[in-house]
């Protein structure tokens, strides 16, 4: 067994501690590294260096274990590159910003529905809903109305509109952060994420949300009740609009790709 102070043994230990991936790949990397370092030492000793000096020089020329391990990790596919992570994060900020802004827009639509069709359309309770006395007292404290149901409707209407509009403000902030970060990063480098990545995700996510919410509304219409339908209808309508916008963007991207695709 080599002495623990052998620079090559110490280097291999440090490299092993930093390598990830399959055991077979790790063994191969260590074997190639050791072969390289030992040959480097032999040649340096032939040129007149002591074994200790030659080993230290060989290790220094090989690069730090962290650098070498990072290069292996970047090319092995099991760890995404920093650029990929940043691009995915920015895509999430963009989608999240649009999502929260859409929630805010649905709050405004719900508010409009409440004004035009009555708060009961947005936040009315079903015909069989009954609230216990303590809940009614809570509703009446902040929204005094002749009946408990009317107080509950006013309470829930405020919640729907206020919370959604607050989410919308967060969404606008996220979009502002995205725009500023995008300007600072500049547009010089070729993106790693495929063309239409955000548009595809956006169309799928908002399309699914629109289907679920509008489907629930349809179900409620078929059941013969419109009380509280506006809550989902406002969300479904805005989601459908956002999904349509993403779909238009996706189709535009696909058309551009078709123009430059070979064959």
């Amino acid at each position: 067994m080599s002495a623990p102070t052998d620079p090559i043994e110490a280097y291999l230990d440090q490299l092993l501690a930093r390598l990830g991936g399959r055991a077979r790949d790790v063994r191969r990397i260590l074997a190639e590294t050791e072969d390289h370092l030992r040959q480097s030492v032999e040649e340096a000793m032939a040129a007149g260096l002591s074994e200790e000096e030659a080993a230290r020089e060989a290790v220094a020329r090989f690069g730090s274990p962290a650098t070498v391990a990072r290069r292996f990790a970047a090319g092995s596919g099991w760890l995404p590159s920093r650029r990929t992570v940043v691009e995915l994060f920015m895509a999430a900020v963009l989608l999240g910003g649009i999502g929260f802004t859409a929630i805010g827009a649905s709050g405004l639509v719900a508010q409009g529905m409440g004004t035009a069709l009555g708060k009961g359309f947005v936040s009315g309770s079903g015909p069989y809903t009954r609230y216990p006395a303590n809940r009614c007292a809570d509703f009446q404290e902040y929204h005094p109305r002749p009946t408990c149901e009317q107080a509950a409707t006013a309470h829930h209407f405020d919640e729907v509109v206020t919370y959604r509009e607050a989410a919308g403000i967060l969404g606008l902030i996220a979009l502002g952060v995205y725009a500023v970060a995008g300007r600072r990063r500049g547009g010089g480098s070729v993106p790693l994420l495929p063309d239409g990545f955000v548009a595809t995700l956006g169309a799928a996510l908002f399309g699914a949300a629109a289907l679920v919410m509008l489907g629930s509304c349809l179900n409620q219409v078929l059941a013969g009740s419109s009380a509280g339908m506006g809550e989902l209808l406002s969300g479904g309508a805005v989601s459908a609009l956002v999904a349509a916008a993403f779909t238009v963007e996706l189709l535009r991207t696909l058309r551009l790709r078709a123009e430059v695709a070979p064959g």
Partner: protein
């Protein structure tokens, strides 16, 4: 490695010598590149035994030779274009 099978140490040394010291990279960073080229099917490698040591020897595959020719051609065109733009004589 395009001329004859070679192990990592020989490739690193050739890279440094033939570039007259221009490509004096941290030697360990050449191996990740070799592994990537192998995964891409442009190189293949196998263990060999020499001087009592086991070492990995790399050689260019058919696809690697085609890719190398293509890259050489691209580089010649690029270098020739740059020379023309900058007014150098070859």
């Amino acid at each position: 490695v395009s001329r004859a099978p070679a192990h990592g140490y020989a490739i690193v040394t050739a890279l440094r010598d033939r570039s007259e010291g221009t490509f004096d990279l941290p030697e360990g960073t050449v191996y990740p590149a070799l592994h990537r080229l192998e995964r891409a099917g442009l190189l293949r490698s196998s263990w060999s035994h020499a001087g009592g040591r086991r070492r990995r020897v790399y050689q260019v595959t058919g696809a690697g030779a085609v890719a190398l020719d293509s890259r050489r051609q691209d580089w010649r065109e690029f270098a020739s274009g740059m020379q023309a733009v900058l007014g150098w004589s070859a």
